[in-house]
C-alpha cells in the first residue's frame, strides 16, 4: 500500500511542525509549506494526494489558494483548517470544492480520518473514470466488431449472388473468342481490337473471381473438424509454398519454433492464415529484408508470430487493415481481404490476433491460439466445445 502524500500548509511553523510529526508517525508522507504561494510552487513540481490548508494566512489566503489548486491540479482533495470563530469560512470552502473542514484546535485522529476519507474518495473517482473509459473503449470495439460482422454477412451474400452473372459474362466472352477464332472470321477487319477487348473481359472476370474466392474462404471445402495440428509443419509448408517468391525478392525467411507446438485445431484454416500473413509480409518487405515465423509455447495456448522488417503500417491505417476490401495496393493487385478473412478464421478457432507495427521498421502480427484438447477416448464430445471452455476461461481476463 502506497503512503498517502499530504501537503500541510500553515503560516505558523509552531502549529505546523508537531502536526506534521504526528501525521508522519501515523504513516502518512508529509510535506510542509508556509504559505499559499509556496504550496502552489510545491504542487507544480511534486505529486500530492491531499492538501491540508489553513484558511487564515497572510498573502494568498486558504480559500484563494484552494481555488487555484482546483483550477490547476485535477484530483487533489483539500481539507481546510479554520479558526474557532470562523466556521462560515469552512462552509464557504466546502461550497467551493473543499472535501471538508476542521476547526482549530484540531483533534489529530479526526484529521487523519478525514485525510483517509478524502483519499478514498479520490481513489473511487479515478476508478469510476477508468471504468467509464474502459466501457467507452469496449463499446467502440463492439460497434467496430458488429460493423465488420454485418459487412461480412453482406459481402458474402454479394459474393454468392455474383457467381451467376459472372458465369454468364465468362461464357459470353469465351463464346466470342471461339467465334473470332473461326476460319470464316479470319478476314474480318479489326479482328485484333475485338480479340483484345475479349481478353480484357476475361481478365476482369478472373479478377472478380479471385475476390469472391478469397472472401468466402476457399478452405471451407476442406475438413471442418478439429484435429492434431503441428504448427511447425504448417510453417514449413507455408515456406515451401512462398519461399520461392521471397528468394526472388531477396528476402530471407526463417522459422523459430520452441516448446510444444502441436495443438488441437484446424490445420487447413491456420495454413490459409499463415499464407495470407506471409504473403503480406513479402509484399511489404524490400530486398535484403527479413521475415520470421515464430512459434512460442505459452502453456494453455500457442503464439504464432509473423514479423517482417518491411515498410510498416501508418498509424491512420492501423484500425482499417482488418476491414474487408481495405488495401494499399494498386487496383487488381490486392483484394483487401487477406487480413479480414484471417481474423475471421482466428476468431472462429478461438484465438486472438493483434498487430504491432512501426513505419519504416516493420510489422509484427501475433496470433494467440488456444491449445485445446482432443476428445477423451470413447467419449462422444464436440471438440470445439472442449475448446470453447478453455477459451471462455482465457477470455475472462481483461484485454491488456
Amino acid at each position: 500500500m502506497e503512503k498517502i502524500r499530504v501537503l500541510l500548509v500553515d503560516d505558523e511553523a509552531d502549529f505546523r511542525r508537531p502536526i506534521a510529526k504526528r501525521l508522519d508517525r501515523r504513516g502518512f508522507e508529509i510535506h510542509e509549506a508556509g504559505s499559499g504561494e509556496e504550496a502552489l510552487d510545491y504542487l507544480e513540481a511534486n505529486p500530492i494526494d491531499v492538501v491540508v490548508l489553513d484558511v487564515k494566512m497572510p498573502g494568498l489566503n486558504g480559500i484563494d489558494t484552494m481555488a487555484r489548486i482546483k483550477e490547476r491540479f485535477q484530483g487533489i482533495e483539500v481539507i481546510l483548517l479554520t479558526g474557532h470563530s470562523s466556521t462560515e469560512d469552512g462552509v464557504e470552502g466546502i461550497k467551493q470544492g473543499a472535501f471538508d473542514y476542521l476547526t482549530k484546535p484540531i483533534e489529530l485522529t479526526h484529521l487523519a480520518g478525514k485525510i483517509n476519507q478524502a483519499t478514498e474518495k479520490r481513489r473511487r473517482e479515478i476508478e469510476k473514470k477508468r471504468e467509464a473509459e474502459f466501457r467507452t473503449k469496449m463499446e467502440q470495439q463492439m460497434v467496430a466488431t458488429e460493423r465488420l460482422a454485418s459487412l461480412g454477412t453482406l459481402s458474402t451474400g454479394i459474393a454468392h449472388e455474383i457467381d451467376n452473372p459472372l458465369a454468364i459474362i465468362k461464357e459470353s466472352a469465351g463464346y466470342m473468342r471461339l467465334v473470332l477464332n473461326k476460319d470464316e472470321m479470319s478476314g474480318i477487319p479489326r479482328q485484333k481490337d475485338l480479340s483484345n477487348a475479349v481478353d480484357k473481359i476475361e481478365a476482369a472476370v478472373d479478377r472478380t473471381r479471385r475476390i469472391t474466392h478469397q472472401l468466402l474462404g476457399f478452405v471451407r471445402k476442406q475438413e471442418k473438424s478439429f484435429m492434431e495440428t503441428d504448427l511447425k509443419a504448417l510453417a514449413d509448408e507455408t515456406l515451401e509454398f512462398l519461399g520461392k517468391e521471397a528468394r526472388q525478392n531477396n528476402i530471407e525467411i526463417s522459422i523459430e519454433a520452441g516448446g510444444e507446438r502441436v495443438i488441437w485445431s484446424n490445420p487447413y484454416e491456420i495454413r490459409q492464415v499463415l499464407i495470407n500473413l506471409v504473403t503480406n509480409a513479402i509484399h511489404a518487405t524490400p530486398a535484403g529484408g527479413r521475415i520470421t515465423i515464430r512459434i512460442e509455447d505459452q502453456g494453455e495456448g500457442v503464439a504464432l508470430t509473423v514479423a517482417d522488417t518491411g515498410s510498416g503500417i501508418p498509424k491512420e491505417n492501423l484500425d482499417k487493415i482488418f476491414e474487408p476490401f481495405f488495401t494499399t495496393k494498386p487496383p487488381g493487385q490486392g483484394t483487401g481481404l487477406g487480413l479480414y478473412v484471417s481474423r475471421g478464421i482466428v476468431g472462429r478457432l478461438g484465438g486472438k490476433m493483434r498487430v504491432d507495427s512501426r513505419v519504416g521498421r516493420g510489422t509484427k502480427i501475433v496470433i494467440e491460439l488456444p491449445r485445446c484438447q482432443p476428445p477423451v477416448e470413447g467419449e462422444i464430445t464436440d471438440n470445439e466445445n472442449i475448446c470453447y471452455e478453455i477459451l471462455n476461461r482465457i477470455k475472462g481476463e481483461p484485454e491488456s
Binding site: N164, I168, K170, S172, K182
Partner: protein, 147 residues
C-alpha cells in the same frame, strides 16, 4: 482425329447462361440440349438420347440435388456434372456422394468443363461396355434353354 460429339443436356434456370454455354459447347462440336428447370430436364431425358447432364444446384422448385436423385433413379447410366456457386459447394460434394460424376465451381474455365464432360462420357461408355458384355454372357449361359 474425328471428334465424336457428346450429347450434353444443360440444366440451369439462368437462361443467358444456358444460351451462351450451349453455343460454346456446340462450337466445340458437342450436341447440346437445353432445359431451364429440373422437371423440364426429366421430360427431355425421356425423349432424347443424353450422355452427360450439366446440372445447376440452385434452382427454384426442384433443386439440383432432387433432380440429380431423380435422374440417377430413372437413368442410372447417365453421368451428371454439378454446377455450383460458392454458397453450395458442400451441397455439390453431397451430390457426388449421390452419384454425380464431378462438380464445377461457377464461373468455370472452359478447358475444365470440356475435360470433365469428356471424362464423364468415357465413364458412361465403359459402363455401357460392361453392361453389354454382361448381357452377352448371360445370353450365352441361357444358350441351351429352348423356349
Amino acid at each position: 482425329m474425328i471428334k465424336i460429339p457428346t450429347n450434353v443436356l444443360i440444366v440451369d434456370d439462368e437462361k443467358d447462361f444456358v444460351e451462351m454455354f450451349g453455343l460454346r459447347l456446340e462450337e466445340a462440336g458437342e450436341r447440346v440440349h437445353r432445359a431451364y428447370s429440373g422437371k423440364e430436364s426429366l421430360d427431355l431425358l425421356a425423349k432424347e438420347y443424353i450422355d452427360v447432364v450439366v446440372l445447376d444446384i440452385k434452382m427454384p422448385g426442384m433443386d439440383g440435388i432432387e433432380t440429380l436423385q431423380e435422374i440417377k433413379k430413372r437413368y442410372p447410366i447417365v453421368e451428371v456434372i454439378m454446377l455450383t456457386g460458392h454458397g453450395t459447394i458442400e451441397t455439390a460434394v453431397e451430390g457426388m456422394k449421390l452419384g454425380a460424376y464431378e462438380y464445377l465451381l461457377k464461373p468455370a474455365d472452359v478447358e475444365e468443363i470440356t475435360t470433365k464432360i469428356e471424362g464423364a462420357r468415357k465413364r458412361k461408355e465403359e459402363q455401357e461396355e460392361r453392361i453389354r458384355k454382361a448381357e452377352q454372357r448371360s445370353l450365352l449361359r441361357k444358350g441351351g434353354n429352348v423356349y
